[in-house]
């Protein structure tokens, strides 16, 4: 087990692919993305029932060493400022294999 950071991002589904590509280029060790989440926040309700994905969120989880966090947040910040969402960082331990 090694200590790590768990970053959890909620972002509009249509913006998620671009963010994931940017994260890939940054060289994050990996990510997991859950599509089709509903939500509510400053920008009102996203009911997740849309034909277009416009009103739907994706949830992205990244496990990474503490050292990577700053660079990731620098990518995530502008993205969620532009079109809404949240980003939480917490401590975890990672089962190494």
């Amino acid at each position: 087990m090694k200590p790590c950071k768990r970053i959890e991002i909620v972002i509009e589904q249509r913006q998620a692919s671009a963010l994931l590509e940017a994260l890939d280029q940054l060289g994050v060790p990996g990510y997991t993305a859950i599509p089709s989440a509903r939500g509510s926040g400053d920008r009102g309700l996203r009911s997740g029932d849309e034909l277009t994905g416009v009103m739907t969120n994706s949830v992205i989880v990244i496990a990474c060493p503490e050292a990577d966090v700053a660079a990731i947040l620098e990518l995530v910040g502008p993205a969620i400022r532009r079109s809404g969402g949240i980003c939480l960082v917490s401590d975890a331990t990672w089962l190494t294999h």
């Binding site: 509009e12 249509r14 913006q15 089709s36 920008r43 009102g44 309700l45 009911s47 997740g48 029932d49 849309e50 034909l51 277009t52 994905g53 416009v54 009103m55 502008p78 993205a79 532009r82 079109s83």
Partner: protein
């Protein structure tokens, strides 16, 4: 009056009402999102294919060219009128997004109108489907360009801003635009031999599937309506399409379109996009509020066109023509 009744008593519209009623009464009836998406893909596929096969049997002459030119003209003019109207009343981003929304078209409204014409036995031409395909993209570009042109110092467009190529991609490679154009071409290429192979799916099931899809649209429209509480916006969503319908009908009649084709061009001018344009606007004009343009197109203008618009425009065209 008779037109209104026969329109309202058609299965597709009644299922739309059923969906509205279910949502307003808070029934837990719902159509899974992935299925609704698929039904919409089917409708684009079927109308595109049918249009392409019909187009093949038309000789491309003045009539076709005139319709397409008229469609293209509307696609550029309507968003400009909408923008001029709205510019002072809201943020730049919202005005631009609404201009794109109302300048573009709703394929589902169009499709419901073809099913109205079929039920009434009024013929219409395949090249109107081409007009539909042509009108989807330009308004998106106009909207984005207006937004950029008037933005003080490119506000809201930071370093990761939206490039010109991306704008074009949103406008032309949008999934629904792409599918309808592709199906149109494939229908045109394979002609009646192709229709023999897929006719049962594309023609015989069409109205039935439309019923199921409009059931879902009724559910979604009523839910969206709850989000929209500004009366001025509701008024715009009701009045602006009427004016554009008037404009389009006059244009259609003056270039000599037939009754059915004129009604279809009119509904193209009057309808607002709630699938292709919102998807594009979220990327190109992210600071526009989707809580405005989406419910206006889907919960105000779409039902208005379906319930009142189609027979009203039809009446107008009939009165003028005969």
């Amino acid at each position: 009056m008779e037109l209104f009744l026969s329109n309202i008593a058609s299965p597709p519209l009644l299922f739309f009402f059923l969906g509205l009623a279910a949502a307003l009464l808070r029934s837990d009836l719902d159509v899974p999102a992935s299925v609704a998406k698929f039904l919409s893909l089917y409708l684009l596929f079927a109308i595109g294919f049918k249009g392409g096969v019909a187009l093949r049997e038309t000789d491309i002459g003045w009539g076709v060219a005139a319709s397409l030119l008229a469609a293209l003209t509307l696609a550029f003019i309507v968003p400009l009128i909408a923008f001029a109207w709205l510019r002072r009343k809201m943020s730049l981003a919202d005005a631009a997004a609404l201009a794109a929304t109302y300048g573009s078209v709703s394929a589902v409204t169009f499709v419901t109108c073809t099913s109205y014409l079929d039920a009434a036995g009024i013929p219409w031409s395949g090249h109107l489907v081409a007009a539909l395909a042509i009108m989807e993209s330009p308004a998106i570009m106009v909207g984005i360009m207006l937004y950029r042109r008037f933005a003080p110092q490119a506000s809201g467009t930071d370093s990761r801003a939206y490039s010109g190529a991306a704008v074009a991609r949103e406008a032309f490679l949008n999934g629904s635009v792409f599918l309808i154009i592709g199906s149109l071409i494939i229908g045109w290429v394979t002609g009646s031999a192709g229709m023999d192979q897929v006719g049962v799916l594309v023609k015989d099931l069409f109205t039935g599937v439309l019923c199921l899809f409009l059931l879902d649209m009724g559910l979604v429209a009523a839910q969206r309506l709850r989000d929209l509480r500004k009366l001025a916006l509701v008024a715009f969503g009701l009045i602006f399409p009427l004016l554009m319908a008037f404009l389009s009908a006059v244009l259609a009649i003056s270039i000599g379109l037939s009754e059915g084709d004129a009604l279809l061009l009119t509904i193209l001018g009057a309808s607002a996009s709630y699938i292709a344009v919102p998807a594009a606007m979220r990327l190109a004009v992210p600071d526009a509020n989707p809580g405005l343009y989406l419910p206006m197109a889907l919960a105000v203008t779409f039902p208005m066109n379906l319930i009142v618009g189609i027979p009203l425009y039809h009446l107008f065209i009939r009165t003028v023509m005969y």
